[in-house]
């Protein structure tokens, strides 16, 4: 039948820091950079604070604190960070391309329906089938309240808003099953508002489009 690999290790099946696709990997790298920078800044500030109790008494000038540390320091760090964030963000946007696969997702309380441009009429419930190794654009909308679409190991999240269509780019590096979550609180069934992304290899994807395993 299909070439599904076993469910990835349970511990990280919903983990944004165990990426299984390029978008999630880029953001995971971003996170580790942010963590390292934040830790360094925190230790620096804590050190300055502790030194207030240790330093010998004496005059303290205002400018190094207010202008140097207060203005120049954050402006430099933030400018670099902002540029990095924008570049990363641009790279994650859905762009045109020959091999982009388009799928449609409609959320409702408390289920997901998925449709496929490559297989008109084909609808799957709570299971999204995609080809591995190819960019996939998920066109999101909602039938009732605001929902969120999130496959933590593949990409960031995007909301499904009634009357609007939002497009999220995701891609799985390898065939497998990836946990998906409704990520915007939507009432009593919220905790169970989940779905599974099934990434196929090329032959498996063709088989899925041809209607096998229906």
């Amino acid at each position: 039948m299909t070439t599904l690999v076993a469910l990835a290790g349970c511990e990280e099946s919903l983990s944004a820091v165990h990426p299984a696709g390029p978008a999630a990997a880029t953001i995971a790298t971003l996170w580790w950079v942010l963590l390292a920078g934040a830790t360094a800044i925190f230790l620096f500030v804590a050190g300055l604070l502790a030194w207030a109790w240790r330093r010998p008494p004496g005059e303290v000038a205002e400018r190094p604190f207010v202008i140097g540390l207060g203005l120049a320091f954050p402006l430099t760090v933030l400018a670099a960070l902002l540029a990095y964030g924008l570049v990363v963000g641009e790279r994650l946007l859905p762009r045109g391309g020959a091999d982009v696969v388009v799928v449609r997702a409609e959320a409702r309380q408390w289920a997901w329906s998925f449709g496929y441009d490559d297989a008109p009429g084909r609808v799957t419930e709570d299971e999204l089938h995609i080809p591995a190794g190819r960019p996939v654009d998920v066109a999101l909308t909602s039938a009732d309240v605001v929902h969120g679409f999130w496959v933590p190991r593949l990409a960031g999240k995007l909301d499904a808003v009634p009357g609007h269509v939002n497009v999220l780019r995701l891609e799985a590096d390898a065939p497998g099953r990836y946990g998906g979550l409704g990520s915007e609180f939507n009432g009593v069934g919220y905790v169970g508002h989940r779905f599974t992304v099934i990434a196929h290899d090329a032959t498996g994807w063709q088989a899925f489009l041809a209607g096998e395993g229906e």
């Binding site: 925190f42 500030v45 109790w53 205002e62 933030l78 309240v145 009357g163």
Partner: protein
């Protein structure tokens, strides 16, 4: 007259009624400040108990402690209570209690308004508590996103409690903000120029103006959503031209400034306490003021960072990402100015300083994770997970609760007039701070491991169990710590020994009085020449008690204080305050009936109670009037000043001005929402636009002109003109509404109804005000004593005229363009 006899005379004039009656009739800011703080702490305890229920539920996987129906109410009410019924009222209470004392005056600008706001808070908060106990509390999350919170997702009464109860409570925020603003600008000790104000006053001023401009979008959103729920006016229903995202914009246009509305008062407390703890003065006073102001301005430009995942175009996201990171700069200026202050001084480790260190350790982490989530791609992963839950608790508890605990221990000797005797506070500190970090630090990681916020249970095997268990245990440790703080405060209030007047050797004026403070604050008002008057003159308190300041002679037998020039602090007028009265509590009870009628859908109650509120308001204003002018009076220290009610800009004029700032922001938000729907909502344009035609336009122009002119005519002609103007605007309104007879048909029709209703309401308000001025004339009030009231009425009639024109343009424009 010696100091003791002066004290007795002033106490007779200023004291609240004895016994239980005093609770309901007091308009004294010291009493009301304490009452505000007490009730806010009560709500903190309720919110805390709900937090413990949440942590009990999440301690282990597959918990069966609460079902989702209950759990959703619990977390919604936890957030709602902590934000609306604890944090903001706690700031209001602190400001109400402290500001007049810091500024060297005897009360806030509008004492009865303080009481009115307080009672609106109590009654509105009681509605929420009732809903909680009855099991019909709001359950859509504290930011109440429709359609989930509308009739589609929440058909019961739950959401109505939120929309109506919170709007009722926000009356207290708006009224407190108006009077804090006017008090800081006009009610200061003579000589206290803006540059010599205590730093806390600057922060309170910025916060109050932010409340005036930040809360109206929320109030508007709540009204629109309630109109949708009650009458089917489809502002947020996409099929009929509404848009769910409109709510998110309106909510976060309030919601992000709200975060700084909570942080800035805390920063004001830090800037006050920290230099005293370090035995020096604040480094970079001007820079810190500039940072607070720019923080306020920037905070209105980054609401969209709560909406990074709603599908907004990337260029838009880039702008808001830049603004969101930029807001870290003024924050950094303050943080490093504080650290520089510590370097410059000789910091000790008293309990308030310990809490400030806890603030630094916690808030810096919260700020850094805040910068992280301002980076758009990272937010796409972190959004709506426990990473955000952890981040916001670091910011709010680190940035508000810890500084407020520092403030509590710093000002407790002032509140109760006693020395801290028992040392439970230290133990509580070591339970709360490690307990806090134990609760929330690892939850960041749980969020990155995929734990969504607001889930009511979770399965094992995701790596979340141990994190949640640690969080729950630590959460209970923290709760025990807060219980100890409460016990500590109670014990110290009732048993400890009398303390000295200025235990921290601070320089600000609140320590220039005996503690606990007398009802009149200062036996005579100081003349201020420096930012720290007590450092300049250690004998000041004694000299004030001896009556060597302004208004030291109580011979006129009434409550008096001074107003000053805004910039220079030169004395300008003598204000005569009203005495104790039950009118505020009565008026807020009638206001409560108005909201109750809407809540339970007994709409007959709404117009009756609206008339009741107007009646109370008229009685309120009427009692201030005087028939004959008093002329200039002796204010002590050689100053001879006019009475405030006989000048062109009485306090009521300034209050109206700032109330109109909030009102104008409300209208601006409404026009924003209208433009948003017009351009963004999918199902636009509507089937038909209203095209009122030239006759209706002429009526509006004539009506607006008559209203504006009416404010400038004599009393009788003015009322006639305003009446004619109101009729003309009303006729035009009828012509417009006839063309869009069904407000439930389309969001456009609904918006037209709201615009028309808003314009008519302001016509009626202006008309009532002019009628009041005319009535005073008939009652024999002189031209001089009527002048201030007439100027207030003119302000409102000008605004009504402007509103009529804007509403007409907004209603007519789409039809003309189409």
């Amino acid at each position: 007259m010696n100091a003791l006899r002066r004290h007795r005379a002033l106490t007779r004039i200023w004291a609240s009624a004895p016994g239980w009656k005093g609770w309901f009739t007091s308009v004294n800011h010291t009493d009301l400040g304490r009452m505000f703080l007490t009730v806010a702490v009560f709500f903190f305890l309720v919110g805390g108990i709900l937090a413990m229920l949440i942590r009990a539920q999440l301690a282990t996987p597959r918990s069966a402690f609460m079902g989702p129906e209950t759990y959703n109410q619990v977390f919604t009410m936890h957030g709602t209570i902590m934000m609306f019924l604890f944090a903001i009222p706690f700031f209001e209470g602190l400001a109400v209690y402290l500001l007049p004392k810091l500024l060297g005056t005897r009360d806030l600008a509008f004492p009865r308004l303080t009481a009115y706001g307080f009672w609106c808070y109590v009654f509105g908060g009681s509605m929420m508590i009732f809903a909680l106990l009855a099991g019909i509390a709001p359950d859509s999350g504290w930011f109440m996103y429709p359609p989930l919170s509308s009739t589609i997702g929440a058909p019961g009464i739950n959401s109505d409690f939120w929309l109506i109860g919170i709007t009722f409570v926000e009356i207290s925020a708006i009224s407190a903000a108006v009077e804090i603003t006017v008090t800081i600008l006009r009610y200061r000790a003579p000589g206290m120029s803006l540059a010599k104000m205590p730093i806390f006053a600057w922060y309170a001023l910025v916060t109050a103006v932010m409340i005036l401009t930040g809360f109206p979008p929320l109030i508007l959103g709540s009204i629109l959503l309630e109109l949708e729920r009650a009458f089917g006016m489809p502002f947020f229903q996409v099929a009929q031209g509404g848009d769910a995202l409109l709510w998110q914009h309106l909510f976060w246009m309030f919601g992000h400034p709200e975060v700084y509305i909570i942080f800035l008062p805390a920063a004001g407390a830090i800037s006050t306490i920290l230099p005293v703890m370090a035995r020096t003065t604040l480094m970079g006073y001007g820079w810190v003021v500039a940072a607070a102001v720019s923080l306020a301005v920037l905070s209105f430009g980054l609401w969209v960072h709560h909406m990074f995942t709603t599908g907004i175009p990337h260029m838009g996201l880039a702008f808001f990402s830049a603004a969101s990171t930029l807001v870290a700069v003024p924050t950094a200026v303050q943080i490093f100015a504080w650290i520089g202050t510590l370097w410059r001084g000789r910091p000790g480790l008293h309990l308030p300083m310990m809490w400030l260190l806890a603030f630094f350790a916690t808030f810096v982490i919260g700020g850094l994770t805040g910068v992280m989530v301002a980076v758009v791609p990272f937010d796409w992963q972190a959004h709506d997970t426990y990473f955000i839950v952890a981040h916001l608790h670091y910011v709010l508890i680190g940035g508000f609760v810890f500084p407020m605990l520092a403030a509590l221990y710093y000002w407790m000797p002032h509140f109760v007039g006693r020395k801290t005797y028992f040392k439970l506070g230290g133990v509580a500190f070591w339970l709360i701070v490690p307990g806090f970090h134990g609760t929330f630090l690892l939850l960041h990681w749980a969020g990155l491991l995929g734990m969504r916020r607001r889930i009511d249970s979770y399965g094992p095997g995701q790596g979340w169990e141990i994190i949640n268990l640690i969080a729950s245990v630590s959460g209970f440790v923290m709760a025990i710590g807060f219980a100890l703080v409460l016990i500590d405060v109670i014990i110290n209030a009732v048993t400890a020994i009398r303390g000295s007047r200025d235990p921290w050797r601070a320089g600000t004026l609140e320590w220039a009085m005996p503690t606990p403070p007398a009802a009149y604050n200062f036996a005579s008002l100081p003349h201020v020449d420096s930012r720290d008057p007590l450092y300049a003159d250690r004998e000041l308190p004694v000299r004030l008690a001896r009556g060597e300041g302004y208004l030291g002679d109580p011979a006129r037998g009434r409550r008096e204080t001074l107003t000053v020039d805004i910039a220079t602090g030169a004395p300008r007028t003598i204000v005569v305050f009203p005495g104790n009265t039950a009118l505020p509590v009565l008026m807020s009870a009638v206001t409560g009936l108005f909201f109750l009628g809407m809540l339970v859908k007994d709409y007959w109650l709404v117009p009756i109670s609206a008339l009741g509120v107007i009646g109370c308001a008229l009685a309120w204003v009427w009692s201030l009037g005087r028939r004959a002018p008093e002329g200039p009076l002796d204010a002590g220290r050689g100053a001879v000043l006019p009475v405030a009610s006989e000048v062109a800009d009485p306090p009521g004029w300034w209050g109206s001005l700032f109330l109109l700032l909030a009102d104008g922001t409300f209208l601006g938000s409404l026009l924003f929402g209208y433009a948003f729907l017009w351009t963004i909502a999918p199902n636009w344009p509507p089937p038909a636009y209203a095209e009122p035609g030239p006759a209706a336009l002429a009526l509006v122009l004539a009506g607006a002109a008559l209203t504006a002119v009416g404010g400038r005519l004599g009393a009788l002609a003015g009322v006639a003109a305003a009446l004619a103007g109101t009729v003309a605007v009303g006729l035009a309104a009828l012509a417009v509404l006839a063309q869009v007879p069904d407000p439930a048909a389309h969001a456009y029709d609904a918006t037209v109804w709201v615009l028309v209703g808003y314009a008519l309401l302001h016509q009626v308000v202006a008309l009532i005000m002019m009628a009041l001025v005319a009535a005073r004339r008939w009652a024999g009030h002189s031209a001089v004593t009527r002048r201030g009231a007439a100027r207030v009425a003119r302000l409102w009639s000008d605004y009504a005229a402007l509103v009529a024109l804007l509403a007409a343009a907004a209603v007519g424009l789409p039809g003309v363009l189409a």
